[in-house]
């Protein structure tokens, strides 16, 4: 028998207030934890209190606080996050991966008011090497710029208002023309025309139009958007939800950031049309926590759209009501996986769910939900405005429409461009990327994203689309990191595995231990301490992760592993000794 008297204590006033401010339910957990973290007040006591205020078990709040990389239980000053994604790594070209070196360099250069941390790819690959100064994006900047950066200098953003030669601009057509912070400017440039047109016809017509356009999802898998919406629309249960996946956390990918930054209303318009077609009532834009600037721009755009009755109750007198919310992540690549994203949105650890059921049947809050990528939504207004036939007529290639491409690495003009499908890697490098930089020779490219294929020059002339991965070159989310002969494929693969090992959620054994062990092997191979049998073990681990992992993260880690081991077997063998 305990002799301790159990006394009921009400929840700490400040935390109760905070919880109430963010909605008071489990879905507010991440926001509450972030606010506590910003005040350096994240510790077991406050986390337990926050959990009480939100009516969830303490372990759930603690599990989240230790899951998301932007949260920390350690006391921090102002935080400066240094990107150690593969593109920034290439720019820094340090022998050991440079993770600790570059953090130390920054630490020594900034004054004592800053805490410097490493971060997985910040999505600023066109501004590499990049850092995140509190919540402000900066790049290209190096440790020698530290003083300026602390004083407010943020480097020079890449300019996209002028199209490259050969570009076909649809989603990017208004970059530099439209003022992203003014809805009047958006309306002048014909934004929301697609929505107005859609609202004049019935949802089934809108759905049929999107279906017949053949629009494929732009997140990487290429699932037909119209078919997904049809699944949601045909569910009898309401409410139905739309979720926009703007958790662009994969190294090499930054197209969604540019789309949201340059033309937020285009995205909102696409989401509202999706809502109308699916019979949904609300939407959430799940944006990665590192994109604070873009999140604020979206919130401003939402407010303006509401003021113009393009959002909210009875939109333009059509009887259709719809709302969009912005939800910020807090640093977790896995939340780009749609079911992990939904878990995160519900205020849980971002761990993937069992499938089936798939989100169109049981998604956010267990309701029918359409989850699509930013770029997919951005294409929709144009399809509605100009018609599915026009979308199909943009190119002669078998996959209709345009795609955002990113070309990075050792090319003369790295950056973002829009073009039809079916480009070859050679075209991407020579026609759009301005060719290899002077004095360098192509060695390999990482195609798609971090979980894409690594190809050598044999695959330079294969037209790339969602199906070309069968031929060994993937489109993924459309990014291409081009490396010249100075780059060791062993060290490069180590960078990728470092990313996956850091970002694995830990739920299933093959991915949790497999990524970690692969990194261990690659660390020693890249530093000249490889051992006999290393290549074989990497191959075995890759097969295991592919076959047995729980979700797409673990299943796709082997894609770069296997492809680079195939194309550069000799170099890996050499690194064994």
């Amino acid at each position: 028998m305990t002799n301790k008297k159990i006394v009921y204590k009400p929840v700490d006033h400040e935390i109760a207030e905070l919880a109430h401010h963010h909605g008071g339910t489990q879905e507010a957990t991440l926001e509450v934890l972030k606010d506590l973290g910003a005040k350096n007040k994240l510790n077991p006591v406050t986390i337990t209190e926050a959990a009480r205020a939100l009516h969830i078990p303490a372990h759930e709040a603690y599990g989240m606080a230790t899951f998301y990389s932007m949260l920390s239980l350690e006391e921090r000053k102002k935080v400066l996050r240094v990107c150690d994604g593969p593109v920034c790594w290439l720019k820094r070209a340090t022998a050991d991966g440079g993770r600790q070196t570059v953090v130390d360099e920054w630490s020594s250069m900034v004054n004592g008011q800053w805490s410097v941390e490493r971060s997985s790819c910040l999505g600023l690959c066109d501004r590499a090497p990049a850092v995140l100064v509190e919540d402000e994006q900066a790049g290209p900047v190096s440790p020698k710029d530290a003083k300026k950066v602390c004083e407010g200098w943020r480097g020079v953003p890449t300019e996209y208002s002028k199209p490259r030669k050969g570009e076909v601009r649809v989603m990017t057509s208004l970059i530099g023309k439209v003022d992203p912070d003014e809805i009047d400017s958006a309306l002048e440039h014909g934004l929301y025309d697609g929505l107005k047109k859609a609202l004049q016809s019935d949802p089934t017509t809108v759905l049929a139009e999107v279906e017949s356009s053949g629009l494929q999802g732009r997140g990487g898998a290429g699932f037909p958007v119209g078919r997904k919406w049809r699944f949601v629309a045909s569910e009898k249960r309401t409410p139905r939800y739309i979720v926009c996946n703007a958790d662009e956390s994969e190294p090499l990918i930054f197209k969604d950031r540019v789309l949201m930054e340059t033309n937020p209303h285009q995205l909102l318009e696409g989401i509202v049309i999706a809502g109308y077609a699916c019979g949904a009532s609300e939407a959430w834009i799940y944006i990665r926590g590192e994109y604070e600037h873009q999140a604020r721009r979206l919130e401003r755009a939402i407010d303006q759209a509401k003021a113009k009755n393009l959002l909210g109750k009875n939109i333009l007198g059509s009887g259709f009501s719809f709302d969009i919310h912005v939800h910020r992540g807090a640093g977790a690549y896995i939340c780009g996986e749609e079911t992990a994203l939904l878990e995160s949105l519900e205020g849980k650890r971002g761990e993937p769910r069992l499938r089936p059921p798939y989100p169109p049947t049981s998604g956010f809050r267990g309701q029918p939900t359409a989850v699509n990528n930013v770029e997919s939504f951005c294409a929709v207004p144009h399809i509605l405005k100009n018609g599915a036939e026009w979308w199909k007529s943009i190119s002669t290639y078998s996959v209709p429409g345009t795609k955002m491409y990113m070309v990075l690495g050792h090319v003369n003009h790295p950056g973002l461009f829009e073009a039809p499908f079916g480009l070859t890697l050679r075209q991407i490098i020579d026609d759009f990327g301005g060719g290899m930089i002077k004095g360098s020779k192509f060695k390999f490219a990482l195609c798609g994203g971090a979980a894409g294929t690594i190809v050598d020059e044999k695959l330079l002339d294969i037209p790339i689309d969602f199906a070309s991965s069968q031929k060994g070159i993937s489109l993924g989310a459309g990014s291409f990191l081009v490396c010249d002969e100075s780059v060791s494929p062993v060290a490069f693969l180590r960078e990728l595995l470092h990313f996956f090992a850091v970002e694995s959620c830990g739920k299933c054994t093959p991915c949790r231990v497999g990524t970690w062990r692969s990194l261990e092997i690659l660390n020693r191979m890249a530093s000249g301490k490889g051992q006999q049998g290393d290549v074989e073990e990497l191959t075995t681990l890759a097969s295991l992760m592919h076959d047995s992992s729980f979700c797409g993260l673990g299943q796709s880690v082997p894609i770069p592993m296997k492809s680079v081991l195939t194309h550069f077997e000799a170099e890996f063998k050499k690194a064994e000794n």
Partner: protein, 378 residues
């Protein structure tokens, strides 16, 4: 009914079932680790992967629903190889201390390693990552080094005991099971029921009271019914050298399954307590039919003098019949002298429903009073 093929054998099964349910029904062995029939399947550990024809990946049998025309291989080379590798990855991150481990012999990880001839890889044994015996809970011994992150403890605590003590913290290779917000178990609302221990497939969670006392093959199990209350939970007493050294859940217990409360699971030390009453005891003066001594232990003799009488006040072991006889006579005497309502009966939650009913009969019909109450009403 759904038609499917498992290892080439045509099978009919009800729709809505998982592959694992069907294989179990048909006696086809599929190894599991994070799966437990009492808990919601999570598909974490990937031990139960099987090959489904047409699938790009292997499927976890515990969470994959069956469909018409499904063709499943449960023992193909690919499947067996992957299971073995997954086990090796778990073992690499698990201390190689089976030789001194308490649960050796009833450890599911050990059994699977044996089945698949999986040993810890040479690169394993990364040293002790967590403090051994890390929690001050008086009953539950925590050694997270042995944890393979199957999360059965988390599910058991949430789904069976509904206390939500255990949770998952951090991510990737650093992932670890913690109580509450990284506190101690008791601070995280633990009521020490030990459900987490019962469901832990390894030695990560074990019992403090019998730690190091015996291994599975050195004990005999005696199924018994808990004597603490009327629920009628069953469990196995663990017996070594004629001594009860512990309590273990018996999954076949009809009333409670694996569930037990802190008293049933850990309140067994009274069994071999030197002061435990095993037979009725009666004061010597009653047994010998003498007069009652005074409270000060003295006895007033017939001549009015006080005298110390050795032993008349002592408790003496006797037979049930004798003790009951004396009690009955005393009851009768009290009733005759002071009336039935001078007596009251208080029964106990440790008695069964039937015993409580009989007590009620004794009070009302034999003695003739309505003065009866029960501890559970207080």
């Amino acid at each position: 009914m759904i038609n499917l093929k498992i290892n080439g054998q045509p099978i009919q099964a009800e729709p809505g079932k998982t592959i694992l349910q069907v294989t179990k029904e048909h006696g086809i062995h599929v190894p599991t680790l994070c799966y437990h029939k009492d808990l919601n399947p999570t598909g974490n550990c990937r031990m139960c992967v099987v090959e489904v024809k047409g699938g790009r990946f292997l499927s976890a049998a515990c969470v994959t629903p069956i469909w018409e025309g499904m063709e499943i291989q449960t023992q193909s080379e690919k499947v067996t190889k992957d299971r073995k590798l997954t086990l090796e990855l778990m073992l690499a991150n698990h201390p190689q201390d089976c030789i001194t481990c308490d649960v050796s012999g009833e450890c599911e990880l050990q059994d699977l390693a044996y089945e698949y001839k999986a040993a810890a890889p040479a690169w394993g044994s990364k040293g002790t990552r967590y403090p051994v015996d890390s929690d001050p809970n008086p009953f539950i011994r925590v050694d997270m080094n042995r944890c393979i992150l199957c999360r059965r403890c988390v599910s058991a605590c949430a789904e069976i005991q509904v206390r939500d003590v255990w949770g998952v913290a951090k991510r990737g290779f650093d992932e670890v099971i913690v109580p509450g917000a990284g506190t101690t178990m008791l601070e995280a609302r633990c009521e020490s029921c030990g459900q987490c221990v019962a469901y832990c497939p390894t030695g990560a969670l074990s019992n403090k009271m019998n730690y190091g006392k015996a291994r599975a093959h050195q004990m005999t199990k005696v199924t018994t019914t808990c004597s603490y209350c009327g629920v009628g939970c069953q469990f196995d007493l663990l017996v070594k050298n004629e001594k009860v050294i512990g309590v273990q859940s018996n999954p076949n217990a009809p009333v409670n399954g694996m569930a037990l409360c802190v008293k049933g699971r850990y309140g067994y030390d009274y069994i071999h307590h030197p002061e435990r009453l095993k037979k009725p005891k009666v004061r010597r003066y009653l047994l010998e039919g003498k007069k009652k001594p005074r409270d000060d232990g003295q006895w007033t003799m017939d001549n009015g003098q006080s005298s110390t009488v050795n032993g008349l006040w002592d408790w003496v072991e006797t037979e049930w019949d004798v003790a009951l006889e004396i009690t009955a006579k005393k009851f009768a005497q009290i009733r005759n002298d002071f009336g039935a309502d001078s007596m009251g009966f208080l029964t106990s939650a440790k008695c069964t429903n039937e015993e409580n009913y009989l007590m009620n009969k004794l009070a009302r019909q034999v003695v003739g009073t309505n003065n009866i109450d029960h501890c559970a009403r207080l």
